[in-house]
């Protein structure tokens, strides 16, 4: 999950690398914004999952 956060963070910092401009039908800046928004939400979700896993492990350790 942490790898996923790293991967998504890298994608956000270098969006150009993840896209093929020839496939974008429309404003490429808006396209990039759309992807960054999506990946940002996914990072939040992955972080929430990490928190759940950590809570589970804490209970399991007890």
């Amino acid at each position: 999950m942490k790898d996923q956060i790293d991967t998504h963070s890298k994608k956000i910092s270098n969006v150009e690398k993840s896209i093929n401009p020839s496939k974008i039908k429309g404003d490429s800046n808006k396209y990039k914004e759309g992807l960054v928004k999506k990946w940002g939400k996914e990072i939040e979700n992955f972080q929430a999952q990490i928190d759940k896993i950590n809570n589970y492990l804490k209970k399991y350790d007890k």
Binding site: Q4, T7, K30, Y31, G34, L35, E42, A48, Q49, K52
Partner: protein
């Protein structure tokens, strides 16, 4: 239609496992509720457009893409998804969390799907295991389901 598909029930979870070869009618089995999809792509670099389009229109809210080329396929699905909307802006209710998984075991993927997949803070109790090609036998999948803990 999916004929003769019996969901597996396990501690509040409803799971169905299919190899893609026909039009899907998962909504009926899941009563129109949101679900998690584990899309097993193995070494495929291609997912039939019909499947991508079906997933994006379905009630799938959490998509694990599992296999050697998972990341490439995730990029392709993300592209198709945001391209459907004006200004590439996916409304919150249409979000689908996508996650590419390459090196974990099937049981580990199931463990995450059973226990940690959530959408907008709600857990997802319906799980579809969808294989593009037959990577795992139904016995292997059944065994992985039986051996995966719901916590």
């Amino acid at each position: 239609m999916i004929n003769n598909i019996k969901p597996i029930l396990k501690e509040g979870k409803k799971i169905i496992s299919i190899v893609y070869n026909n039009i899907l009618d998962v909504d009926t089995i899941f009563n129109g509720n949101n679900f998690v999809c584990i899309l097993i792509v193995n070494s495929s670099i291609f997912v039939p457009p019909k499947i991508v389009s079906w997933i994006l229109k379905s009630k799938c809210k959490y998509l694990y893409i599992y296999g050697q080329n998972a990341e490439k396929i995730e990029n392709l699905i993300d592209h198709e998804h945001i391209s459907q909307y004006e200004n590439f802006n996916i409304p919150n209710e249409d979000d689908i969390i996508t996650m590419a998984i390459k090196n974990e075991s099937l049981s580990e993927v199931l463990f995450m799907a059973f226990n940690f997949a959530s959408f907008q803070d709600k857990s997802l109790d319906n799980i579809l295991i969808l294989q593009i090609e037959k990577t795992f036998s139904f016995v292997e999948i059944d065994n992985a389901i039986k051996n995966t803990k719901v916590i």
